[in-house]
């Protein structure tokens, strides 16, 4: 007897043109397992704009619309409006964008969709830089990381700005459901996708998606590193349902070195800089836990 813990049905064909060990491939796989085949995707410029394969081939079994980089929020609102006109209610509309297309370029369209309360799910798969154009830093790149536009070298010009807190930005719109998910915890992922599907209004899912070439890591460690991100509390898993926060998966509280040492993009950091990152992770976890205790 097999012990399958997530739906067995596949909504993707093999043969996508994602890199070996790509986290974003897993994000799509788990998301569609949670949402099912009655789903329409809209995808802007991002890794996933390339990954379905070259024309005429396509690796998904659900319909997908390409849109301009900044227009995911507008595009999903348009698809929803068209479905509403046709009286189709059982289709889930999903905007599926990378971190650059969400926190930088697509932010105003997303904010508009949240303000309108469009009934759709917005998924941001976060590989923490503009990966498919060549690892340029984005607003979601963490403090201290190397990218091609924040090169280290002798002047040590690594990224000096902290990661943009997109979850708080989305929450401030008063949306009904927002959650963080990780590819290392697919059961939690599928559960949250189903929950998002059942809520009405704009739902936001933030998925951490390790990128072997961009993070300078071994592709076989994708799941291990995603798991370490949760266990070191760099990427805590929580959900905010109608303004109430709940941490869904407690990290083991491992030191942040365990996570940083697996990736070449953090190799240049000194002990002091690592300590600074540890302090920032500790304080944001404390804020989350305090909020959970207050609201739970």
């Amino acid at each position: 007897m097999s012990r399958v813990t997530i739906p067995e049905v596949e909504h993707a064909y093999p043969g996508s043109t994602g890199c070996p060990g790509c986290g974003a491939n897993l994000v799509m796989r788990y998301l569609l397992k949670g949402l099912g085949e009655r789903t329409i995707l809209t995808i802007p410029a991002c890794c996933w704009a390339v990954m379905p394969g070259y024309w005429p081939s396509h690796c998904l079994k659900v319909p997908m619309v390409y849109c301009a980089f900044e227009a995911t929020g507008a595009s999903l609102s348009g698809i929803r409006a068209a479905l509403d006109m046709k009286g189709v209610e059982d289709v889930t509309v999903v905007g599926f964008a990378g971190d650059g297309g969400t926190v930088d370029i697509g932010l105003q369209a997303l904010s508009g969709a949240a303000e309108r309360g469009t009934d759709a799910i917005y998924v941001m798969y976060d590989n923490e830089a503009y990966m498919n154009t060549g690892i340029q830093r984005s607003g979601a790149t963490p403090w201290g990381a190397w990218t091609t536009t924040t090169p280290v070298g002798s002047s040590r010009d690594y990224k000096r700005e902290p990661k943009k807190d997109i979850m708080s930005i989305m929450e401030a719109h008063g949306i009904p459901y927002a959650a963080t998910v990780s590819v290392a915890h697919p059961e939690d992922f599928v559960k949250k996708a189903k929950k998002a599907k059942d809520a009405r209004g704009l739902k936001f899912i933030h998925a951490l998606s390790p990128c072997p070439p961009g993070w300078k890591m071994n592709p076989m460690k994708t799941i291990e590193i995603a798991r370490l991100a949760v266990d070191t509390n760099v990427f805590p898993l929580y959900e905010v349902e109608n303004g109430r926060l709940r941490i869904t998966k407690k990290g083991k509280g491992l030191p942040i070195e365990d996570y940083l040492s697996t990736q070449g993009r953090f190799r240049h950091l000194t002990e002091e800089e690592v300590k600074r990152m540890q302090e920032s992770v500790d304080s944001s976890l404390k804020a989350l836990e305090e909020r959970e205790a207050r609201e739970g």
Partner: protein, 90 residues
């Protein structure tokens, strides 16, 4: 495959599954499974980014036409029954 322009839709609409892309050709390391050691935990199937692993009676059957050789299955397997072998080695 060649087609006349009259057969091609005005907007590029995909009509072929990506199974025409033999991504297995990219592979540098090939997963080799020792099925006798398999404990049917299905983790390899769960974590395969390319959905290239099929479960047969709970045990993995890796489709080498599409497996890109990332090695996540070998890294995650608790029974250590999957090893990665360099392609030229055989």
């Amino acid at each position: 495959m060649s087609r006349s322009y009259e057969d091609i839709p005005l907007t590029p609409i995909s009509d072929t599954p990506s199974t025409v892309n033999m991504t297995g050709l990219w592979r540098v390391f090939r997963p080799v499974v020792d099925l006798d050691k398999c404990r049917k935990c299905t983790l390899c199937w769960k974590f395969c980014p390319d959905a290239a692993i099929e479960l047969v009676d709970g045990k993995p059957n890796i489709d080498l036409r599409y497996c890109k050789g990332c090695g996540i299955c070998a890294n995650e397997c608790p029974a250590e029954c999957i090893i990665m072998v360099k392609e030229e080695a055989e």
